[in-house]
Amino acid sequence: MYRTILTARLLDEAALRQNRMGRAPFVVPAEGHEACQVGTAWVMRKGVDVWVPYYRDGAVVLAAGMTPFEIFLGIFAKADDPSSGGRQMPSHWGHKGLDIISGSSPIATQIPHAAGIAYAIKYRQEDAVVGCWFGDGATSEGDWHEGLNFAGIHRLPVIFVCENNQYAISVPQAKQMAVDNVADRAEGYGFPGVVVDGNDVLACYGAMKQAHERARAGEGPTLIECKTYRFLGHTSDDDDKTYRPRDEVEEARHNDPVHVFGEYLRTQEVLDDVGAEELRLEIKGEIDTALAAAWDAADPTPESAMRHVFFEGEA
């Protein structure tokens, strides 16, 4: 778990460096969200459950099994990028083999998809659960309401995870909704909503575990709200200094989930400074290797732009 969290952080840092070097036109950092992403994703069963993430979910897809190499193939828009073959902006995740459903840029459109997938699972009496992640801004969209409402009516095996970082790009939560907790809205859909500290990976894991058990038991959806913070801009093209006071960001950094979890592991004596540094260097080495290999991978050919508008036969 710590390894995945740290990988996500170091991968973000490396990707941002590539962006500043001019080698990656666009990146979406997850910094600050690692605990709620990994904590919730850790409950999901690979090869069984279905992942419906949104674009900030770099750590979710790492937990789902995507490799740093695959992620860098997307960042550099290479032909073998598993998400889209370089067709989408980076971080628009999709991985058929890992059951990560392809996502788009419009906000909350994936919510009804999650409900529909969960409906099909229930209809066929399969033992699978859908995990669906989104930000606080998504909760204002009609599709969010329509998806949760349908999931509630049919008591579907789906878990809705809100990574509430308190800003939809620049718009603060107070201008997004008149309630303190997104989770309170669950009542309107007839299923439980819970609030957890999104910087506490184990709390996120615990809430997700309960929701997962509920889903598998046929008791229906759960809405989990993870209160967290985004340390960087919305994307590499965003300057958050125009809307967030620096002291607020600095204050939030005191609860950096990577640091918080690292400290916890030290108090439990499963990690020490030497071990942490060794792990960091090992991951950094893996990321550097993945990055270099992805940079050298083939670009898509121009003519390939014409392909896959419609079905072309089984591969």
Partner: protein
């Protein structure tokens, strides 16, 4: 063979598909208890179960979005939009999601989804039960847009739509539902999505149309044959996108004259694309300028009978007259 109207042909075909394959799911507003406002699914909730004939909440984007999810998990959903006029909230789900899933995943994911929507006017449906929506979606790569106009085509193309691995917007012109009858072959035959169909052969001019307008054109062509011996070839587009330009251009090359007729607003409608195609590919075969007949550019359609008639046909018997003028050009 048996004679049916369009709505019965659609009902029977969809019923047989649901009976044959439990992956086929019908979802929409009032499709269950009520059996659909056009009674297409009357009794099906009892027959197939509430989990296969789903009365959804009144939320069109959600209907399409949920259906996309079902398709992603191996079901074959048929999402019914009660009236095409109400499809607009689902535009994002259709255009950004269903139509792009395959392209954006480089072929990894597909979306075998059928969206059924009764469209068109001339039935006192006023501004929000009469619209033509085909042009919005025909413009979008990744989704097929069809509008069959005869009972045999409707049944055969619905089967093809259900077996298509990509999303299909299946438009049903409401005025054809009960007004148009015809022979329907027995068995689960298919009419492929794509090819246009020459509904009437002729030599003097080509008329290209679809939807209810097709029947107005067929009627005018029959009368002109009788009245003046003018021989008109009538091409039924059937699949609006992707458009069968080959059949259209071949017919125009043969007759050397073309008239394109559609019910939608004239400007930027599907007819404009057809006219442009003829102009590009058959300009030097033409003996007269192409004629385009569409509705005036006012919202479809005002309610009062004289206003609705004006929308459908601004001049009395205009298609007959425009065809005759073109033939004499």
């Amino acid at each position: 063979m048996s004679e049916k109207n369009v709505v019965t042909a659609i009902r029977d075909a969809l019923h047989d598909e649901m009976a044959a394959d439990d992956r086929v799911i019908l979802l929409g507003e009032d499709v269950g208890n009520r059996g659909g406002v056009f009674r297409i699914s009357a009794g099906w909730m009892e027959e197939f179960g509430e989990d296969r004939v789903i009365d959804t909440p009144l939320a069109e984007s959600g209907i399409v979005g949920v259906a996309i999810g079902m398709a992603l998990r191996g079901l074959l959903p048929v999402a019914e939009i009660q009236f095409a006029d109400f499809i607009h909230p689902a535009f994002d789900q259709i255009v950004s999601e269903a139509a792009r899933l395959r392209y954006r995943s480089n072929g990894a994911f597909g979306c075998p989804l059928v969206i059924r929507a009764p469209c068109g006017g001339g039935i006192h449906g006023a501004l929000y039960h009469s619209q033509s929506i085909e042009a919005f979606y025909a413009h979008v790569p990744g989704i097929k847009v069809v509008m069959p106009s005869t009972p045999a085509d409707a049944a055969g193309m619905l089967r093809s739509a259900l077996r298509d691995p990509d999303p299909v917007l299946f438009l049903e012109h409401k005025k054809t539902y009960r007004a148009v009858k015809g022979e329907v072959p027995d068995g689960s035959y298919e009419i492929p999505i794509g090819p246009a169909d020459v509904k009437r052969e002729g030599t003097d001019l080509t008329c290209v149309s679809y939807g209810y307008s097709l029947h107005t054109c067929l009627d005018a062509a029959a009368r002109l044959q009788e009245d003046e011996g003018i021989s008109i070839e009538v091409v039924d587009v059937r699949t609006i996108s992707p458009l069968d330009t080959e059949t259209i251009v071949a017919s125009v090359r043969k007759t050397a004259k073309a008239i394109v007729v559609y019910e939608d607003n004239r400007s930027f409608g599907a007819g404009a694309e057809i006219v442009a195609t003829i102009a590009e590919e058959a300009m030097f075969d033409l003996d007269a300028p192409i004629v385009r007949v569409g509705a005036p550019d006012i919202p479809a359609m005002p309610f009062a009978t004289p206003l609705e008639h004006f929308f459908m046909e601004p001049e009395p018997d205009q298609i007959y007259r425009r065809m005759r003028d073109l033939a004499h050009h």
